[in-house]
């Protein structure tokens, strides 16, 4: 940098010498004397150079302002990045209810798509697809009920409502409260198996030596026929399991989340 500056001053000395020589020649002045050599080495900044901001201090000032500009740019960039980070975190928290709403609205991923009563009223049975629904009944080891289905199977078509019966008997001397849950196999068919009314997820009380019929009113969604994964499925098994509901024990009921 210093060498450059020297070079600059040397250049302007030479320039000055040339210009003063030319000036004196042009104006007929023959004042070429030994003072001109002194003039050559006298460092005078000509006017046109005064307005320029070249020089060690000015260069440093320029560098400083450039650094300031970089710092400012860095700061704005950092602010943007921080804001993006905060936004991402906020979005991930907001995504939970949003995703739930989205799934409920579109029914993607097998979530409950809000069956409406309209469907039961307007659905058309698909007559050429006969499905055998077999029934299974289980009890948990601790409950002493006799629980069994009253029919082994029913042949049903998608889009048609059907009724099935289970029977439960309490052979003990004390009233027993039971609560049941169900399962449908194969798993892919479970989303098309809709129960209109049944006896599950609610406490059912049986008095001593009492026997009741428990109906299940269900239908298979007509969309079952158009699902390629279920093209070769023609048997669905509905399985109920009864548990004893103890005092103060609350079961988590399935809910629309």
């Amino acid at each position: 940098m210093v060498f450059l500056l020297c070079g600059f001053t040397a250049k302007h000395c030479i320039q000055q010498a040339f210009s003063s020589a030319w000036f004196s020649i042009a104006h007929g002045k023959t004042s070429v004397s030994c003072t001109s050599s002194a003039q050559l080495f006298l460092r005078r900044t000509p006017q046109r150079f005064l307005n320029q901001t070249r020089g060690v201090k000015s260069h440093k000032r320029k560098y400083q302002s450039q650094e300031d500009a970089w710092k400012k740019k860095n700061r704005t960039a950092l602010t943007y990045i921080a804001a993006t980070g905060v936004a991402m975190i906020g979005l991930s928290y907001a995504a939970v209810p949003l995703y739930r709403l989205f799934c409920q609205a579109t029914g993607l991923g097998g979530t409950i798509s809000g069956h409406d009563a309209e469907q039961v009223e307007t659905m058309k049975p698909v007559r050429d697809r006969i499905i055998k629904v077999t029934f299974n009944a289980d009890t948990h080891a601790s409950i002493q009920w006799n629980f069994r289905p009253q029919q082994s199977e029913i042949y049903v078509v998608p889009g048609e409502t059907a009724l099935a019966f289970y029977k439960a008997r309490n052979p003990t001397e004390r009233p027993v409260i039971g609560i049941s849950t169900y399962n449908v196999v194969p798993f892919e068919a479970a989303q098309y198996f809709n129960k209109i009314q049944c006896f599950c997820f609610e406490e059912q009380r049986l008095n001593p030596h009492e026997e009741v019929d428990m109906p299940v009113f269900f239908y298979i969604d007509p969309e079952f026929d158009s699902d390629p994964k279920l093209a070769r499925i023609d048997t669905i098994t509905l399985s109920y399991t009864f548990f004893e509901a103890k005092e103060g024990h609350s079961f988590p009921f399935p809910r629309y989340s």
Partner: protein, 94 residues
Amino acid sequence: MSTAMNFGAKSFRPRPPDKGSFPLDHFGECKLFKEKYLRCLRDSDFDNSQCRIHSKDYLECRMDRELMKKEPLEKLGFKDLLEEQSEGKGPGSH
């Protein structure tokens, strides 16, 4: 139920029934209708389409005896049966 090794696979989620739970028929008030229905099923080789009239009768019995919320039968999928009934009654009445 999904096996224990099925990480990430969708598990079975039991769904609540659309119209809730049937109250228990402690006194067997609709037992006759149930017997008719089951006999029909056994006779027709467990074919549901032939015994829907009996299931409709059973549900009507339940509704009459406060064992089920009263609903128009069309909403329970018996629209075609009701239409057949009205058709059958129509020419008969004339």
